[in-house]
């Protein structure tokens, strides 16, 4: 039974009571991310102050994994520089691919709750939707 790890309390909290699922003032950039096959759909908003992600938020709908993953991601990257955020994103992608283990995962904090998605190929795209969209944004900014 993977229930206990897969839909952990951390994941459910971020899904049911997200901290960043709201519009922000004066975003530097807004970008939509979609998983057409699932219907996961998010609008990610980021406000930069120089090189630092000063504030961020999102709106959208979709499965618990996609929505919780975005919320965890924003908790992690707000206050970080663009470079740090891109590094976290790369680490997250490696974790989901089952290629990152142990201590280095500590940097991902609560997002480690999604580690077991690596064993569920059909749900990988849900977990990475937010990160994929953030990457695309940061590369344009």
């Amino acid at each position: 039974m993977t229930n206990n790890t897969f839909y952990s309390q951390i994941l459910l909290d971020h899904h049911m009571h997200p901290s960043y699922k709201e519009k922000i003032d004066d975003p530097t950039m807004v970008l939509e991310g979609q998983n057409p096959s699932c219907g996961d759909d998010i609008w990610l908003m980021v406000k930069m102050n120089g090189d630092v992600i000063e504030d961020a938020g999102f709106q959208g709908s979709g499965c618990a994994i996609s929505q919780a993953s975005v919320d965890m991601m924003l908790e992690l990257v707000i206050g970080k520089t663009k470079k740090e955020a891109l590094e976290l994103s790369a680490l997250f992608m490696r974790m989901i691919a089952g290629e990152a283990e142990g201590d280095e995962l500590e940097d991902l904090e609560e997002a480690v709750a999604l580690k077991d998605i690596a064993h569920m190929p059909a749900r990988v795209k849900c977990a990475v939707l937010g990160w994929r969209t953030l990457n695309e944004m940061l590369e344009k900014i």
């Binding site: 839909y7 899904h15 979709g62």
Partner: protein, 403 residues
């Protein structure tokens, strides 16, 4: 309740609850044996070898075709074309009949509930011929408004593409009536029978169907074989779909003549082993009989619907009568995305489908992004349903809701 599970070897190895038979069914042992027997005793390239073994293979392939012919009540065995699956069968009709017969101003009527495989080929035909697509829009439960087809089918209608049973609703469409109205206006009807062939007796003559497509794998046959039935008068006139070996009579430097039906539409080495497997699947099903299959499915569907009624926030899509579901139960659960439903059920060893079911336009029409679908077949039993309902009833709480 009769136990059919023992006929299906997968259940000797798989301890889960399989409720995704509308995606693909499990195969009875007789099908696996027929495939093995073909390769062990009869394997040669059919239709071309001038020796005994090839004749055996050819006879097996021809026998499978006759079995399919009788299974759907066709007049002649050469009206049965073997393909890879329903999708290929429908594409064959679209590329061959559609592109050569349709013209600007013609209308193609496509049900809004169609699987993408009975929509996208027609969209291609419309784009290339100048014909237009018009959607047939069903009610929210998959039924049709009063006198709807009388209104929609007009002198402009050239072709109607519709499933006999929708893979979302499970409801049987009034094919006989639609075919009659189509023929009155000089149109043809193309029927996707992927979800009906496993569950009900089909009679292409009585229904007066022009083209009918289904897959072997949804009725217990192998994955690599499908069927296209076409009326001889259409098939004779149609150009080939794929060109190459086995489908010609003479080839010179500058010209060729096509082989007789059905070979004109079966280019390349044919899939005789899977045809043998399909034949065994049909024999298995008909030996049980569709009356028994339907009664079994109805009892289980009733049982499932009863359990679903007690689950908070659960909405069943389609008819409220079990016999109008063909074993397909599509549903939503308030506040829980269908992919989360599927993942939580999977953790309890239960296999269902979640997503758009290859019916994007229908999902948009119904105003849902996606749905969950449990689909059952003759090897399911009450224990499966009890496990499914128990797990289903716990999902909202597992997702953090009070009830």
């Amino acid at each position: 309740m009769k136990d059919y599970k023992k006929d299906f070897p997968l259940f000797d190895h798989y301890n889960g609850i399989y409720l995704d038979s509308a995606a693909t069914a499990q195969r009875p042992a007789v099908v696996l044996e027929a495939i093995t027997r073909f390769y062990q005793e009869e394997n040669a390239n059919p239709l071309r070898g001038l020796y005994d073994l090839s004749t055996l293979a050819t006879e097996r392939y021809a026998s499978a075709r006759k079995t399919v012919q009788h299974f759907i009540g066709a007049d002649k065995s050469h009206e049965i074309i073997f393909t890879r699956n329903t999708t290929e069968s429908l594409n064959l009709v679209a590329y061959s009949y559609g592109l050569s017969r349709l013209k600007p101003g013609d209308e193609i009527l496509v049900s809004i509930a169609e699987h993408h495989s009975n929509l996208l080929p027609w969209r291609m035909v419309a784009r290339k011929t100048g014909a237009t697509i018009r959607y047939l829009e069903c009610n929210a439960d998959g039924s049709w408004p009063q006198d709807y087809f009388e209104k929609m089918i007009t002198d402009k209608t050239a072709l109607i593409a519709i499933a006999q049973v929708s893979n979302v609703f499970g409801r049987t469409n009034p094919i006989e009536k639609i075919a009659r109205l189509a023929h009155e206006k000089g149109a043809v009807i193309v029927v996707d029978a992927a979800q009906s062939a496993p569950h009900q007796k089909i009679d292409v003559k009585a229904l007066d169907i022009d083209f009918l497509a289904f897959s072997g794998h949804k009725l217990g046959g192998p994955m690599g074989i499908g069927v296209l039935y076409g009326k001889e008068e259409h098939l004779q006139e149609m150009p080939p779909f794929l060109r190459g070996g086995e489908m010609i009579e003479y080839v010179t430097r500058d010209s060729q003549t096509w082989a007789e039906l059905p070979h004109k539409f079966e280019a390349g080495t044919v899939n005789a082993s899977d045809a043998a497997g399909l034949e065994a699947a049909i024999h298995y099903l008909t030996s049980i009989g569709f009356d028994a299959v339907s009664a079994h499915e109805k009892e289980l569907t009733d049982y499932t619907m009863e359990g679903m009624r007690d689950i908070y926030g659960l909405k069943l899509i389609g008819s409220d009568r079990a016999e109008e579901h063909s074993g397909i139960l599509t549903f939503t659960l308030d506040g829980v995305h269908p992919h989360d439903i599927a993942s939580i059920l999977d953790a309890d060893g239960i296999a269902i489908r979640a997503g758009h079911h290859c019916a994007g336009p229908l999902m948009q029409y119904m105003g849902v992004m996606s749905t969950a679908r449990a689909s059952l077949y003759l090897y399911n039993d009450k224990k499966d349903i009890e496990g499914f309902i128990k797990s289903l009833s716990e999902i909202r709480r597992k997702m953090g809701y009070d009830k």
